[in-house]
């Protein structure tokens, strides 16, 4: 679109939006946010990118095809559910590992499948929306 002003703004905004999207993803379990909102924001970031530099460059910045990212995201979400099998729990039962303690109160932080699932959601939403947006962009 070769607007110098927009491109210059986009340089800041893309990074900002992307960081913000990760922020929304990570805090989503406790405050407004989560995988959907994060993924949508991430997609917006890369749409801004593609508006500034064209879909080809935005795609290459993504390092992987959006469809692939989405598929991997779905795989991650599925695995987050299947992990419960090895702990004798039903599908999608959240598995929590407390780092430095044995409960929420005593631990420093936790590793858990719930967040892994949300990351899968994030990737699916990001990849899918970008896939659609880029396809439209390339066809017009």
């Amino acid at each position: 679109m070769n607007s110098i002003i927009f491109t210059a703004g986009a340089r800041i905004l893309v990074a900002l939006l992307f960081v913000f999207s990760l922020f929304m993803l990570l805090r989503g379990h406790h405050l407004p946010g989560g995988g959907f909102i994060g993924g949508l924001l991430g997609a917006v970031a890369f749409i801004v990118y593609s508006l500034a530099c064209g879909p080809a460059e935005a795609k290459s910045a993504l390092r992987a095809s959006p469809e692939g990212i989405a598929a991997v995201g779905l795989g991650i979400a599925l695995v987050a559910g299947l992990v419960a099998f090895f702990f004798g729990d039903p599908f999608f039962t959240g598995q929590w590992y407390w780092v430095g303690g044995d409960s929420y109160e005593t631990s420093i932080f936790s590793l858990n499948t719930v967040l892994v699932f949300d990351i899968g959601v994030y990737l699916v939403v990001l990849g899918s929306i970008l896939s659609i947006a880029y396809a439209f962009e390339e066809e017009t």
Partner: protein, 500 residues
């Protein structure tokens, strides 16, 4: 572990879809899809064994008690639908090896196909109303993709109508869920049974029930909501139309059967009475529509509608025998109708068209295919001793037992008209010589295409014959399924009492 038996028939096709998509460019995609379909069948048979062993089984996803978490549950009806879905899935996955060109594979055919199977299976197994909506959507969006994959003008045109009408039904369904939740405060279907029964505003419940009936009615393709079906089913690739014909409308019928035996049973004199008339109109208009067509797949498409009428009639009559007939009909019809569409694909390969006026000569040069057509075609027409006869027999007997002479008359009369259409295909595609004098010799099609296409047809035809000749286990199964539907106390206690 019960929990995982319920999960695997859904999880396997999803995992397959992911892998098949990531490896879609290599020929690996189709083999991954095929392997996945085999595993799905194994998983669903394992579930079947468990259900036969224990009766209704249920599990709480994410380990939250019902009705707070999402329940997966398999009773006889649910599990048989899952198994038959896996069978249809495997059959069409094999068929696709021969039919689907690489171009469509690269566009993600296998992934879309597997998510379709996953969505259908999820719909059959879920015990949660909103979750049912989600599976409906998974199935629907996959079917959208598959329907227009390839992008011919015909497909796009069909896609517009298919998508438009299905989206409307989806939104009606979604609103219905919202409203029902607003009345009862719950989404678990077993929990809803009591909540609905105890509701003080039964008129409102009936109104919402009618909304569900309309929403499911579009999916099932009942009169007068079936437009999307004949508008589209003749356009996608044959493997796709086979799996559509076999499974998609049945999900609507299944959902109707589930909701109108488990939840909406407070005003049977109204809801089910209406459904009787809807069913009759469906049977008649569908079969008349078929009679008017001269295209192989269009005839088959209209017949789906007609046969759906029998299934909903089984529900509407609401006696053990009628429901049994409905369940039997569901299973029989999936096998038979999917197979007929697969046959139409082979006929197309051999003759170059599905327009009955432009093809012919198959009987002379492809007797084997002719035999494989005859079996599902006459089963569909209700000829004994094929599966369709027992299905129709149960429905007719149920209506005669109720002394609903008119219903029985229509059921039989529509059967006669079905014979008419099936013999029309037989006469024009098989008996009649090809108008251009072409001899559609099967061996002209290369073996690596022909064999994968024939194998599932043989398999499904064999099943049709076997069910017809040895219906007892299936009848008994349907009987138990019907009993569980009419008295869902097992279902309810199993779901609500499922251990965390």
């Amino acid at each position: 572990m019960t929990s995982w038996l319920l999960v695997m028939p859904i999880a396997v096709p999803f995992a397959t879809a992911v892998l098949a998509y990531l490896m879609r460019r290599a020929p690996a995609g189709r083999w991954i899809s095929l392997t996945g379909s085999v595993l799905s069948l194994v998983a669903s048979i394992a579930l079947l064994m468990a259900v036969l062993d224990e009766g209704v089984i249920a599990a709480q996803m994410s380990n939250w008690d019902a009705p707070f978490g999402i329940t997966l549950v398999a009773d006889y009806l649910g599990v048989v639908m899952v198994v038959i879905t896996a069978i249809t899935g495997l059959a069409t996955a094999i068929y696709a090896l021969g039919e689907i060109p690489e171009r469509l594979e690269r566009l993600g055919y296998h992934a879309l196909f597997q998510t379709l199977i996953a969505g259908v299976t999820g719909a059959f197994l879920t015990g949660d109303l909103f979750n049912l909506y989600v599976w409906f959507e998974v199935m629907l969006i996959s079917s959208f993709g598959l329907l227009v994959l390839g992008g011919t003008r015909e497909q796009l045109d069909a896609g517009i109508k298919y998508v438009a009408l299905n989206l409307v039904s989806t939104l009606i369904f979604l609103s219905g869920i919202g409203l029902l939740y607003g009345v009862t405060g719950t989404l678990n279907m077993a929990d809803l049974r009591d909540a609905v029964a105890n509701s003080e505003d039964q008129t409102l419940i009936t109104v919402i029930a009618m909304m569900f009936m309309v929403g499911f009615g579009v999916k099932a393709g009942v009169f007068p909501l079936f437009f999307w079906l004949p508008a589209s089913y003749h356009t996608p690739s044959f493997a796709v139309s086979a799996v559509f014909a076999g499974l998609l409308t049945k999900v609507g019928v299944y959902a109707m059967m589930r909701m109108f035996t488990l939840v909406f049973v407070g005003d049977i004199g109204f809801t089910h009475e209406i459904l009787i008339w809807v069913s009759l109109a469906t049977m008649l208009t569908g079969v008349l529509g078929a009679a008017a067509q001269t295209d192989f797949r269009k005839i088959l498409s209209f017949h789906i509608i007609s046969q759906i009428g029998y299934m909903t009639l089984g529900l509407a009559l609401y006696t053990p025998l009628a429901l049994m007939g409905g369940v039997f009909y569901l299973v029989h019809h999936i096998i038979v109708k999917a197979n007929l569409f697969l046959v139409s694909g082979v006929a197309y390969k051999l003759t170059g068209s599905t327009d009955l006026n432009r093809i012919g000569g198959l009987y002379k040069s492809s007797p084997f295919l002719a035999a494989l057509f005859i079996v599902p075609a006459f089963s569909l027409a209700g000829f004994p001793p094929l599966s369709g006869f027992w299905a129709k027999y149960l429905i007719v007997k149920a209506s005669i037992e109720l002394e609903m002479w008119f219903v029985a008359f229509i059921a039989l009369f529509v059967g006669l008209l079905t014979i008419f259409s099936m013999t029309k295909i037989w006469g024009m595609a098989f008996w009649k010589p090809h108008p251009d004098g072409i001899e559609p010799v099967p061996t002209r099609v290369p073996a690596h295409i022909r064999l994968p296409m024939m194998l599932p047809i043989i398999g499904l035809a064999t099943m049709t014959v076997l069910i017809g000749l040895f219906p007892e286990p299936f009848v008994q199964f349907a009987e138990t399924a019907a009993a569980q539907l009419l008295d869902p106390s097992d279902y309810v206690t199993t779901v609500l009492g499922a251990q965390r």
